[in-house]
Amino acid sequence: MSRPLRLGLFVVGAAGLGMLLVAGLLDLPRFGDYPGPYGDLIARLAVPQRHMVNTVTAVVFDYRGFDTMGEELLLFAAASSTALLLRETREHDTDDLVAGVRSDAVRGLGALAAIIALVVGVDVVAHGFITPGGGFQGGVVLASAFAFLFLTIEYRAFVGLVPMVAAEPVESFGAGGYVAVGLLSFAFGFSFLQNFMGLGVPGRLSAGGSAIFVNWCSALAVCGGFLVIFGETLQENIAERYGRSRR
């Protein structure tokens, strides 16, 4: 199909789709008049029922905990298939590569940024039930700490410092741990993923009951998943850039 023809077809199709979209969207409740009732119920009940002051995280890891488990496994599947796609056909061993960063300033700043990202990541995960944050957001920040290291130190030093083979076990432990916490509820005679611990004091680190474990498990799964994804992509890139041009 030629380019003008394709664009012409798109304009016709997009005009139709656009009209349907706008017609549908305009029938929604007007912006700023959220009618409820579910959001209001959760917002009023999360603190007395679950002792979680951050109601968004309460929905993610408690009220909708089962859905989040599916989402967790989705991320796991995506990371695993990325690794599978890239690893299967990699032709070059990445061990004999030399990275190019030689500036002390860049390396120092990279180490500093990594330390800050680690601390912020742990903080964001730990306070997930109190302030905006939680396992997903914190897991990404944790993974970025390793990205800073990867970008600023030599590849060989990085592999010595951060065993990338650990990324997959960490990811699997997180994803499996989430399911295990859910199953543990059965041992106490509750339903799947139902809270089996003391609820703690609202607004303190102890708040949240057994959802705390779920929170940390998803942090591990997200952090491990991201490490797998960018570990594989970066190794692929390095093999591409240095491995091939050196031959």
Binding site: M1, R3, R6, L7, F10, A14, L17, G18, L21, V22, L25, L26, L28, P29, R30, F31, G32, D33, Y34, G36, Y38, G39, D40, I42, A43, R44, A46, V47, V53, N54, T55, V56, T57, A58, V59, V60, R64, D67, T68, E71, L74, L75, A77, A78, A79, S81, T82, L85, L86, T89, I130, T131, P132, F136, Q137, G203, I229, E232, T233, E236
Partner: protein, 114 residues
């Protein structure tokens, strides 16, 4: 104007779709898919918004305070995770296509011509 956020949703989505259709680069297409998905974030957050509502985090606001809907916010969080997973997969597929055909332009790749 109370319909503006909804019109923005339609605009972002169609703009991303235009990018996908007209693109000459697989990485550009991946970014356009992300643009399409961000339309859903705006839609979800716009549905749950309430005038004078604050964030549904009661760490330092009284429980009587008017808040926006926390359910759509957690759905948006889910959405972002899915978007990241899709981008990662699409990008690794793009890498493979480049390995195999030496080009990222879909019209240069015989199997994707159309």
């Amino acid at each position: 104007m109370s319909v503006l956020p909804y019109l923005l949703v339609a605009w972002i989505f169609l703009f991303g779709l235009y990018g996908i259709v007209s693109s000459r680069n697989l990485i550009h297409i991946t970014v356009c898919v992300s643009v399409c998905q961000s339309a859903t974030y705006v839609l979800l957050l716009a549905i749950g918004y309430r005038k004078q509502g604050t964030a549904p985090v009661f760490a330092d606001v009284p429980s009587s305070r008017r808040v926006v809907d926390p359910v759509v916010q957690s759905l948006t969080l889910t959405d972002i995770v899915v978007a990241v997973a899709i981008s990662a997969l699409l990008l690794s597929l793009a890498l493979k296509v480049h390995d195999h055909y030496g080009s990222l332009d879909p019209s240069q790749v015989s199997e994707m011509k159309g």
